[in-house]
Each structure stands twice: as structure tokens, then as C-alpha cells.
């Protein structure tokens, strides 16, 4: 600024010098160079420069070029007037340029402000765009007078429309909505147009491409001019598909939950911290005879018999202080509920606690166990009945067994006495009066003796048979080989006329009742002995064989044998396959053998052929004990 001022001050001096040098040419025009100089100085130096140049210029021209020259004396009044005009002109130039400079500065300032404002606006616009994108919110406006629609970029995005295209006018925009949504939206827009009522509604958008449908929240409001006429509509659209989806799934899960709770067989009852009922499902309604409306808000104790109230309340409070999520209710004892009609009924309940929206909620699952209790009672009763009946039957059976025992005893004792009398007295007769009798009477007496002996054998056989089914079995390891040898030796000793070849396999053993097994072996070996009495080289074998997953003990002989056609009669009491005169017997031995074998959970079978011998094989149990296992 000072340089400009110095230049402005210097210019009149330079003009003075130039005019002094060229004075001869420009004489008498004393102001010729000074007027443009002052103009220049005012341009360059502004108000101060101009004024300084004017004063300096006026003084220099007055002194050097106005006559009398080189003095400040004024002779001619015109000269004085010219000085005044010059000074005024100089002042005018100064003021003019000063004004000019101020205007220019103002203009520049204004321009700068405008530019910065522009920047800010553009920045804001970007931010707005960003915000709309992030929030999926777009805005639109509709100038009704010129029917001009304007959409923000996000509106295009939401409707999936090419931003290069123009905004679609109302009501052509219908194509973007489902029919249901459009009917709702169009009604709202029409009301906004005609009555100026703002609207907000959720509508479903169908987008042209195969994009999934979207839900948007559309809102709009009217703008009126000074006269109150509606001139513009503007509003926003927001993509709420995600919210809708969440709402939908929430609704679905809520519905599912409701279905579960409503269709549950068990009563579901939610109770708040004040123990007031907050939820009461249909099963609970039915169980307690209380409608949902009646139940909600009621204290939980309403559902319980009075004697449980205190304990129950305490139990819930205690439970609330535990960190347990759930537990059975009623712990030790029975739990009961009470119906609206005052009827008590047994329940089974569990309780759980959770905090929902900052509030504690207890959820009780209640089951009416009346039927179960009845069933249990019934089962108990039936069991009791059954046990009683078992005891009764056992007693009956014991009594029957005892009766049978005494019957057998009576048979043994009392049946023999008359036989003995028959035999005894016929003998006495023979001894005392035998010499008076001859021929047939003696034979008759002998027949009486024979018959009584036969009858005695029958009684003995029957007793053995009946004894074989009575009494417990005392299992022990029995050496069958040794037993067989002993029995065969006894047979050989009692029958001097017969010498049979005997082969007894060594090491035959079984876990069984020794005395019972002896009855078996005595019978089988006795039979073998008896039925080989007519053959030339009688042979009796005792051996074991394994077949059909069973361990058989066998007694085989080469005697009379039997016809397999009659094999099924062998084991029946009093059934014989041979005549008395062939082989005497009473037909009860094998029946006894089979009973004993059966009592040992075994089985017996017979193979035979007439004239070639018979084999009897029996099992005693699934797992016979062998010598090897024993040692």
C-alpha cells in the first residue's frame, strides 16, 4: 500500500519534470500533464494517493507554470480559478477511484462467501446422500402445479429403478406396488392431495427385475401456498424389508409358541414376581375350570388349596433366590390344585424362572395326575389282590400237596395191611391145614399169595412215582458211572442165572439229585437186565453222547426191544409192551423215570427194534458238569 502511495506522490513530480522539459511545446497549457497524472495517482493510490498527488500537482503547476512562473503570486484571477478546478477535479478522481476500489472489494468478498457456501452445500448434499443410503431412506417431492416429480437417489435404489431415468409420476408409479398395498397407498395419497392429511403406511414393493419384494414405509405431507391451496406434496420412503422380515419371523415364532402353549396337554401358567397370573393356557383353563380372563391377574394361590398357600408362597420366594433355572414343585410330598368348583385334585408341577424385559417371570407347568393316581391306586389294588390270591392259591396248593402226601402215606400204610392179611392168612391156612388140602385148593391159596405180592409191588411202584414228584431236589455232583456199576453189580448178585456183558463209560457225571437219579438208573438198568434175560449174549452199555446241542446219558441193551410204533406208550404209567408171562412188570418204572428227568429240566427218548434191543437216552440239564471242568 505504501508503494502505491509513494508512486502516487512521485507521479506529479515526474509529470512536472516532463512538462518543464517540453514546456516550449505545451505552453500555455499549464495543467496538460498534471490532469492525467492525478487520474493515474488516484487509480493507483486510492483516496490518499489521489489527494496527495492533487495537492502536490497543484503546488508544482502553480509555482513552475502559472505566470509569474517560479513564484506563487497570482496576477490573473483565471489562473486562480484554474487551480481551484484542478484541485476539485483531483479530489473527484480520488473519491471516484476510492469508491470503485470499495465496490470491487465488496464484490470479491461476496464472491468468496458464495463459493464457500457452495462447498458447504455440496458437502451437505453428499452427507445427506450417504445418510439416505445408510438409512435406506429416500425423499421425493411433487410440484403439483407443474406436475413435476423429484426423487432422491435412494428412492431409485429402493424401487430398483435406473437413476438415469426420470421419476415416475403419480399414479403411474402404481406398477411398483402390490395391488393391496397400492389400494392402501393411493387412498392415503388422494386424501393428502384433497384434504392435506399427512400419511404414513407400510406398503409392499414389487420390483421390475426378479429381485425379492420389499417392504417400504411411505410417508407424505402437503404444502400449501399463502392462499391455503395445496401446491406441493413431499415425503419419504424407507426400506423396511429387514424390519418386516424380523417382525414376520418374530410373529411366526410367537405364533408357534402360542400354538405350543395353547395345545399343550399340561397347564402352562406364568406368574410375575408378585405371584399374579400373567399367562394361562387352555389346558390350565380346563384343569382349573377358570377362564383365561378370570385367571389373568389373580394371585397364584387362587389355584391351590388353602393349606398350601403359605408354604407355596415361601417356596417360590426361595426358588427365586436360587440360581436354579427349573425344579420340580412340591418336592417331597403330594401336590394338589383346586378347581373353581372347590374340588381338589392331585397335580405334578415344575417351575422355572427367567427374566424377561428386566422382570422376573415364573413359569409353572402343571399336570393333572388324577387319572394316573387312579391308575396307580388301581395297580396297587390289583397287585395287592394278586398277592393275596397268590397267597391263597399257594395255601390251597400246599393244602392239596399235603392232602396228596397223606393220601400217599395212607396208601403205603393202609393198602399194605389187607394185602399182608391176605398173604398171611393164606399162608397160615397152608401151613396149618395144608395137609388136609390137595390139588387145586393149594394152587388157589398160592394165587392169593401171588396176587397180594403183585398188588404190593404195584403199591410200591405207585408210591415211588408219587414220591418222584414230591419234595425238593438236592443238586450235587453225581458219578453216574460209579452208580451204574454198583447197580449192575447188585443186579448180577440178585440174579444168579444171568451174566450180562456190561460196558460203562468212565467219567459220566451230572449235577442232579443223587437219590432221584438212582431211581432212574435202577429202573433203566433193571429193565435192560430184565429184557436181555432171553438173549444169548446179553450186553448192557452205559455211555454219553452229544447231539442236538445236548448231552445225553444212554442205557442200551441188545434185548427184546420194542416196536417204535408203540414208543409213545412206554412212558405212561401201567402201559406195557410185553406180556406178563414174557417179562413180568407193573408198567410204572419208565413213567417214574420220565417224571424225574423232567424235574431235572431234562428229556428222555427211547429207540428200539423188536428182537434187537432198546436204548434209552436222557438229558438232565443244558450244562452237565464234566470231570475236566471239575478239576
Amino acid at each position: 500500500m505504501s508503494a502505491r502511495l509513494a508512486l502516487a506522490v512521485l507521479l506529479p513530480i515526474v509529470a512536472c519534470a516532463v512538462q518543464w522539459y517540453l514546456w516550449d511545446i505545451f505552453k500555455p497549457y499549464a495543467w496538460f500533464f498534471f490532469i492525467p497524472t492525478v487520474f493515474l495517482s488516484a487509480w493507483i493510490g486510492g483516496l490518499n494517493g489521489g489527494l496527495a498527488a492533487t495537492v502536490i500537482g497543484a503546488l508544482l503547476a502553480w509555482y513552475f507554470f502559472i505566470s509569474p512562473t517560479l513564484s506563487f503570486h497570482l496576477i490573473n484571477p483565471v489562473s486562480a480559478f484554474s487551480i481551484i478546478v484542478f484541485v476539485l477535479t483531483g479530489c473527484l478522481f480520488s473519491v471516484f477511484f476510492d469508491q470503485l476500489r470499495r465496490s470491487k472489494k465488496q464484490a470479491n468478498d461476496a464472491l468468496a462467501i458464495a463459493e464457500s457456501a457452495n462447498e458447504k452445500i455440496s458437502d451437505l448434499y453428499q452427507k445427506l446422500k450417504e445418510a439416505q443410503r445408510l438409512a435406506s431412506v429416500g425423499n421425493w417431492s411433487w410440484d403439483i402445479q407443474c406436475d413435476k416429480h423429484t426423487w432422491s437417489e435412494e428412492v431409485y435404489n429402493i424401487l430398483d429403478r435406473d437413476p438415469a431415468l426420470h421419476a415416475i409420476a403419480y399414479p403411474d408409479v402404481q406398477e411398483y406396488f402390490t395391488p393391496e398395498s397400492w389400494s392402501e397407498l393411493s387412498v392415503a395419497v388422494e386424501r393428502c392431495l384433497s384434504e392435506g392429511v399427512s400419511y404414513e403406511c407400510d406398503v409392499e414393493v414389487v420390483r421390475p427385475s426378479n429381485c425379492p419384494r420389499r417392504w417400504i414405509a411411505a410417508s407424505g405431507e402437503a404444502i400449501r401456498d399463502a392462499n391455503g391451496n395445496i401446491v406441493n406434496l413431499h415425503g419419504t420412503v424407507q426400506d423396511i424389508s429387514e424390519r418386516k422380515r424380523v417382525e414376520q419371523s418374530l410373529r411366526e415364532s410367537e405364533e408357534q409358541l402360542a400354538v405350543i402353549i395353547n395345545s399343550a396337554m399340561d397347564g402352562v401358567i406364568a406368574v410375575d414376581e408378585q405371584q399374579r397370573i400373567r399367562l394361562f393356557n387352555p389346558a390350565a383353563t380346563e384343569m382349573f375350570g377358570l377362564s383365561m380372563v378370570e385367571a389373568i391377574g389373580q394371585p397364584l394361590s387362587r389355584l391351590l388349596p388353602e393349606r398350601f398357600h403359605q408354604a407355596h408362597e415361601k417356596a417360590i420366594v426361595n426358588f427365586a433366590h436360587t440360581s436354579l433355572k427349573a425344579r420340580r414343585m412340591g418336592g417331597m410330598g403330594e401336590n394338589s390344585g383346586i378347581r373353581a368348583n372347590g374340588q381338589e385334585f392331585p397335580i405334578e408341577a415344575s417351575i422355572s424362572q427367567s427374566v424377561i424385559a428386566g422382570k422376573k417371570l415364573f413359569i409353572a407347568i402343571v399336570r393333572d395326575i388324577t387319572e394316573r393316581k387312579q391308575t396307580q391306586d388301581e395297580i396297587l389294588r390289583l397287585n395287592f389282590d394278586l398277592e393275596r390270591r397268590v397267597v391263597e392259591r399257594t395255601a390251597e396248593l400246599t393244602a392239596a400237596n399235603r392232602e396228596l402226601d397223606s393220601f400217599a402215606y395212607a396208601v403205603a400204610h393202609d393198602l399194605r395191611a389187607p394185602l399182608r392179611a391176605m398173604s398171611g392168612f393164606s399162608h397160615a391156612l397152608q401151613e396149618d391145614y395144608g395137609h388136609q388140602l390137595q390139588g387145586e385148593p393149594l394152587i388157589y391159596l398160592e394165587q392169593i399169595s401171588l396176587a397180594s405180592r403183585k398188588m404190593s409191588d404195584l403199591v410200591d411202584g405207585l408210591l415211588l412215582l408219587s414220591r418222584s414228584t414230591r419234595g425238593g431236589l438236592q443238586y450235587e455232583l453225581v458219578d453216574i458211572s460209579a452208580m451204574s456199576k454198583r447197580l449192575l453189580a447188585e443186579l448180577a448178585q440178585s440174579d444168579h442165572g444171568q451174566h450180562a456183558m456190561v460196558e460203562v463209560e468212565a467219567g459220566l457225571q451230572a449235577q442232579c439229585d443223587a437219590r432221584m437219579l438212582e431211581v432212574v438208573m435202577r429202573n433203566l438198568l433193571g429193565n435192560a437186565w430184565k429184557y436181555t434175560s432171553h438173549v444169548e449174549n446179553p450186553t448192557i452199555r452205559v455211555y454219553a453222547e452229544n447231539r442236538d446241542n445236548a448231552h445225553f446219558f444212554c442205557v442200551a441193551d441188545n434185548g427184546a426191544g420194542f416196536d417204535m410204533a408203540h414208543a409213545n406208550r412206554l412212558f405212561k404209567p401201567f402201559q406195557r409192551l410185553h406180556r406178563q408171562d414174557e417179562f413180568p412188570g407193573i408198567g410204572i418204572g419208565l413213567a417214574t423215570v420220565r417224571r424225574i428227568v423232567n424235574r431235572h429240566a431234562g428229556s428222555i427218548e427211547a429207540r428200539g427194534e423188536p428182537g434187537k434191543g432198546a436204548t434209552f437216552c436222557f438229558t438232565l440239564s443244558d450244562m452237565p458238569v464234566t470231570l475236566e471242568q471239575d478239576t
Binding site: 403205603a412 393202609d414 399194605r416 395191611a417 399182608r420 392179611a421 398173604s423 398171611g424
Partner: protein, 147 residues
């Protein structure tokens, strides 16, 4: 030395009684044979009670042939009573029975019967058995020292 004291036969079956008597006689035993017909009578006889108060013979019989199947008191009960009484605990008692029930045999031995004899159906066997028993207990066996 033949014991000449009485023999007591306890038998309810008259036919068995007759046969037993016959067998004993034929074994040449000359002793007097007293017969009672049930268990109670047997005890009364031996302890001189009831009908037998003041029984003439001051001694116990030389032996008792005791049937098991008796009316009122069974032979086993009689035996038990005899063995629990000091007066009769050494008295020779021979159980005579039709049955060969193990229970009877076991009980007889538990109560210290001196013998257990099954009455065979066959008469000659029966007679022989009774005779042998009689001879054994009256002639062969030495009785306990008298008090």
C-alpha cells in the same frame, strides 16, 4: 438166657395183630404178649395210667413192638413220649410199620427207636422178620442195667 418178661404189641389192625402173634409164637417165644390198640393206650399201659392203673406186672415189658399208623397218638408220638421219660427212655422199642416213608424212618431214629422194621406183605417173610426181631431183643440183646 431168655427174657421172660412181657412183650407189648401196639397194633390197631386185628389182622396184623393175629399175624404178629402167630409169628412170635412160631418163633417159640413163650413170653406173655399184651396188646393195646392205640397210642394213648400204649402210654397208659407203660405208665400205668387210665385203664392200666394198678397193672399187675410191676416191670416194663421186655420190648415194645410199636406200629406207626395208630389212632389217637401215632407211634412216633408215643416213641417221643417214651424217650422223654426217664422211666422208659431205655425201653427197647421196635417200630413196626407198613410204610417205608423216609420221614417215618428218620423220625424214628431221631427219637432213638431201637429198630425200624418194615412189615413185609409176604407172610413167610413177615413171620421170619417178627420172629428174628423177637429172638434178638429177648434172647440176644443185653438189656441196660436195672435200677
Amino acid at each position: 438166657m431168655i427174657n421172660t418178661k412181657n412183650i407189648l404189641l401196639v397194633e390197631d389192625n386185628p389182622q396184623d395183630e393175629m399175624l404178629t402173634m402167630r409169628a412170635l409164637r412160631r418163633a417159640n417165644l413163650i413170653n406173655q404178649i399184651d396188646v393195646v390198640r392205640d397210642g394213648q393206650q400204649a402210654l397208659d399201659y407203660l405208665f400205668r395210667e387210665g385203664d392200666f392203673i394198678g397193672r399187675e406186672d410191676p416191670d416194663h415189658p421186655a420190648m415194645v413192638l410199636l406200629d406207626i399208623g395208630l389212632p389217637r397218638l401215632s407211634g412216633l408220638e408215643v416213641l417221643e413220649r417214651l424217650r422223654s421219660d426217664d422211666r422208659t427212655k431205655f425201653l427197647p422199642v421196635i417200630m413196626l410199620t407198613s410204610s417205608d416213608e423216609e420221614y417215618d424212618r428218620l423220625k424214628s431214629y431221631e427219637n432213638h427207636a431201637n429198630s425200624f422194621v418194615r412189615k413185609p406183605v409176604d407172610f413167610s417173610e413177615f413171620a421170619e422178620t417178627v420172629g428174628r426181631v423177637g429172638v434178638y431183643w429177648l434172647a440176644t440183646n443185653e438189656p441196660p442195667p436195672g435200677r
